[in-house]
Amino acid sequence: MTGEGASPAAVPVRDRLPRGDLVGARVAADFAAPLASALADELTGYLRLEPGDALLGVGGSEAVITLESGVPVLAYDAGDDADGPAALAALAGTTPVRVERYRLPADALDPLHDPGTDGTEPFRVAPGAPARELAGDDALAERTREAAPADRRAAGGDHDALAAFLADEERVEAVRREARAEARARADEWGLGDQLAE
């Protein structure tokens, strides 16, 4: 499928995204609320997301999810330099997150949302993928999928974000390490310390 000349990846979407009108900003405890309100408002534009570690001055990364009538289309994570499903994997679990909502005229996004000339769409995510992978909200994912244009409802690649997450060994080990520390801390808190294995 790879054609000659520049692929879309060589012309970063992040450099071509026009600046929209800021219509709201908040710190959200999880991803469900901002995704649900974007869908309810049928927002066309993008969400600029600043993960919790960046808020604490640790990271400094940011991510963007573009929207057509509230339905996610593209995603990228500038911090991890990740695109599409991999960007969702990079963002997952990074709450609290600061969310800025920007509005754009639909035609301003057309050049970005049109498939690349070689047919590849590295930034594209399935309509329900952000709700499913970031918010863990199956019902919101289904509502989002139903709101998508017919030609996007059957978008494949359902497990790409999870595959990207699992490929990041350091990240998965960090989840396990934190869970072990949490389990032991809570065992002490709950008086279950004597039930712990050595």
Binding site: L88, A89, A92, G93, R132, E133, L134, A135, G136, D138, G156, D158, H159, A161, L162, A163, F165, L166, A167, V172, V175, R176, A179, R180, E182, A183, R184, R186, A187, W190, G191, L192, D194, Q195, L196, A197
Partner: protein, 261 residues
């Protein structure tokens, strides 16, 4: 012999109760199986098993005076129902019953059940955030981890595994549920991080929803469905170990008293 399994996911919506009953029915072809709704705060197994009208449930056994709705004394056998080849112990959903129940009594009830079965399946709460929610994981010999192929669900599944390991509880395996399309490389990728085998991949299924609506376990409602077949294959990957019934009973009896969920 008896081996106690907690069926746990760490999050809601993964189809844990459907899975508990499906694995129970499949294992009941080879073993004496007892299924207990150990999610006393959000009990729902009774609806899946056609026991919504069960006159006596676990809630009555957990009442300090162990009395049923009509005021008569009840014992464990009164809350056991033979359904679909298994012994099923549902939990009621009445608020008064919940408030009246003493979770500490769960240990005794489960210890008594363990004395007379091969496989004990504990349908566990969909959270790890309270003492009573983790109790089934603390008490069980091994955990069957139920997850979905999404990042949040798999992260919670990893948490379940690490909580289990912290309490010396093993992993019987990992089951991917509500899978759309082909799992692709995800199963193999995930297996690297779990201490137990991948038990299988159960397709997202209208049959599972229809079974729940009909108040029947999936394997009774739609035994020929792809999902039912996947559950039977997953159950074949679980090999219950023979433990002395008295060991398991003692472990339950010696466990700590949980707070209310």
């Amino acid at each position: 012999m008896v081996e106690a399994f907690a069926v746990a996911s760490g999050k809601g919506g993964t189809g844990k109760t459907t899975t508990t009953l499906a694995l129970g029915m499949a294992l009941a072809r080879r073993y004496d199986v007892t299924v207990v709704d150990a999610d006393t705060g959000m009990a729902n197994l009774l609806f899946h098993a056609g026991l919504a009208d069960a006159p006596v449930t676990l809630q009555d056994l957990l009442a300090p005076d162990a009395r049923g709705p009509d005021g008569a004394a009840v014992d464990v056998a009164d809350a056991c129902y033979d359904r679909h080849g298994m012994r099923v112990v549902p939990c009621g959903t009445s608020l008064a019953g919940f408030e009246r129940s003493d979770p500490a009594r769960l240990r005794e009830v489960v210890a008594e059940l363990a004395a007379d079965t091969d496989v004990l399946l504990l349908d566990s709460p969909a959270t790890l955030a309270s003492k009573s929610a983790v109790l089934p994981i603390v008490l069980a010999d091994r955990v069957v981890v139920v997850t979905q192929p999404t990042i949040p669900a798999l992260s919670d599944a990893l948490k379940v595994q690490e909580y289990a390991a912290s309490y010396g509880t093993g992993i019987a395996g990992v089951l991917f549920n509500k899978v759309r399309g082909d799992l692709g490389s995800v199963g193999t990728q995930a297996e690297r991080y779990f201490e137990g085998p991948m038990l299988g991949s159960v397709p997202d299924s209208d049959a599972a929803r229809a079974a729940r609506d009909a108040g029947e376990p999936l394997l009774a409602h739609a035994p020929d469905s792809d999902a039912a077949e996947a559950y039977r294959a997953a159950a074949a990957g679980i090999d219950p170990e023979a433990n002395a019934a008295s060991d398991v009973a003692d472990r339950f009896r010696s466990a700590v008293v949980p707070d209310r969920p």
